[in-house]
């Protein structure tokens, strides 16, 4: 087995200059390895650093210390030391992040959003249908979608581009049981093709075969 991602001694703090420079230590030395084609679920109390960890991996938060090495074939890239363009290109080709919030683009319909990422119309339509979005919603800008529909579109957007590492931050939080199952099945299908998944979730997906490993964080550290 080969590790797609190796995190060593990762530290992250937020300095609140508006609060007199108060420093919050959110990651206090995290070590974690993700094997290719596995699904890891990250749990732990709110504020334990789960989302900050995902954001450091995605490059949307700046780590203080440590390394996050992404491996693609023979190439290794330390995301903590990478420049902006390297991270942008990693995001295009390798690492996807989905959160529970959908960044809405005005006037652009759901199907157009998915197809902008490189899918043909019929592939995009198939993906949206698989995730339970009805045809009559394809042309509708997602600003008017319900919470559940937005989350499914979010998932569609992250699945639309084939990327080997997916970071998911509570993407099934507000879904009903049926939609959750649909989402888990879509993820399992990806995992079977070799995609690595790291998901922050308060509940562990119950779909057999999906989750390989549970990691618990507490107070900025991996505890189990």
């Amino acid at each position: 087995m080969s590790a797609v991602l190796k995190i060593r001694g990762l530290r992250k703090s937020y300095t609140r200059h508006l609060l007199g420079g108060r420093r919050l230590d959110v990651l206090r030395g995290v070590d974690l390895e993700l094997e290719r084609g596995t699904c890891t679920v990250l749990t732990g109390p709110s504020g334990s650093g789960k989302s900050s960890l995902l954001r450091c991996i995605y490059g949307s938060a700046v780590a203080d210390d440590g390394s996050i090495v992404y491996r693609d074939g023979m190439d290794e890239i330390d995301i903590c030391a990478a420049d902006e363009r390297t991270i942008l290109s990693l995001r295009r080709m390798h690492i996807g992040l989905a959160t529970q919030f959908l960044a809405v683009v005005p006037r652009v319909g759901a199907l157009d959003l998915v197809c902008e990422l490189g899918l043909e119309r019929d592939e995009g339509a198939r993906l949206l249908r698989t995730l339970g979005l009805a045809d009559e919603h394809f042309g509708v800008p997602p600003a008017t979608f319900s919470g559940g529909q937005r989350q499914m579109l979010n998932l569609a957007l992250i699945l639309a581009r084939p990327r080997p590492l997916l970071l998911l931050d509570e993407i099934t939080a507000s879904l009903d049981a049926r939609r959750k199952r649909t989402a888990y099945e879509a993820l399992l299908e990806r995992k079977r093709t070799g995609v690595t998944i790291l998901a922050v979730s308060h509940e562990v997906p119950d779909l057999p075969g999906l989750v390989d490993r549970l990691v618990t964080m507490e107070d900025g550290r991996v505890v189990a």
């Binding site: 937020y14 949307s60 938060a61 700046v62 902006e84 005005p106």
Partner: protein, 251 residues
């Protein structure tokens, strides 16, 4: 790869001794969108004016497609502007002749770039006019009678008329109501994607920046205080001023 636009240590000092901007360096590659944020008076528009060759830096240089053009003048500068640069100003009267028709404004730029066939120019101007979702029956009407949102779209059509690789946008949606703003932003986003344009967008509206820019520069008192990926600057700003800026935004 050669950057479409590169500024190297650009400083603008006015005769009175005050600074417009100080030691500004950045580059923009084909297809990249760079956002510049900062409060009024922080030097954002000065930087854009240097990029548009409206202003000659006191020190430093501006390169377009790998060539130092900061001190070009006259006909050469006009030609470069027509071929390589498109700009949308915050106030339409800066970029348009309001007494002239929409078609005339768009055509003027094409004639400036060396087009000679009246028929070709008129056809292209018409298709750009339509692509910017401007009503067909207003093509031969003076821009003076246009609404703010329509004027901005005429500016966009004009900027695109010569298919430049670089588009500069100075607060392109400020002062527009939300639905017109959404339409304008959607058009800008589509243009950028369809043509793989390099873009520099100045805005104090962080939502606009979030939607359009890959990378962001934060300016204060003429200097760059922080730079990074858009979601990093907006989600994990490091500099005290960036934190203030992000915290001040209504969301």
């Amino acid at each position: 790869m050669t950057p479409v636009l590169a500024l190297h240590d650009v400083t603008v000092r006015y005769p009175a001794g005050n600074y417009g901007c100080r030691e500004i360096s950045f580059d923009v590659f084909p297809g990249e969108v760079l956002g510049i944020v900062g409060e009024s008076g922080s030097g954002k528009s000065t930087v854009l004016a240097c990029a548009n060759l409206d202003l000659v830096p006191t020190e430093g240089s501006v390169e377009i497609l790998g060539r130092d053009v900061s001190r070009t003048r006259g006909a050469e500068r006009r030609k470069l502007r027509a071929q390589a640069l498109g700009i949308v100003y915050q106030t339409p009267q800066q970029g348009l002749d309001l007494a002239v028709t929409a078609g005339g404004n768009i055509a003027e730029r094409m004639f400036g770039a060396g087009h000679r066939s009246y028929r070709v120019v008129r056809e292209r101007a018409r298709s750009l006019h339509a692509a910017m979702e401007l009503p067909c029956d207003r093509f031969d009407v003076a821009v003076r009678t246009f609404s703010g949102g329509m004027r901005q779209r005429v500016q966009l059509a004009k900027a695109l008329a010569t298919s430049p690789p670089l588009l500069l946008l100075d607060e392109p949606t400020s002062g527009l109501d939300v639905s017109v703003q959404a339409k304008t932003l959607d058009l800008i986003r589509r243009i950028q994607r369809d043509h793989g344009l390099a873009m520099v967008i100045v805005s104090h509206d962080l939502a606009v920046i979030r939607m359009l820019a890959d990378r962001v520069i934060v300016m204060r008192e003429g200097r760059i205080v922080e730079r990074g990926l858009t979601d990093q600057i907006l989600g994990d700003p490091q500099h005290p001023y960036s934190q203030l800026l992000v915290a001040s935004q209504l969301t």
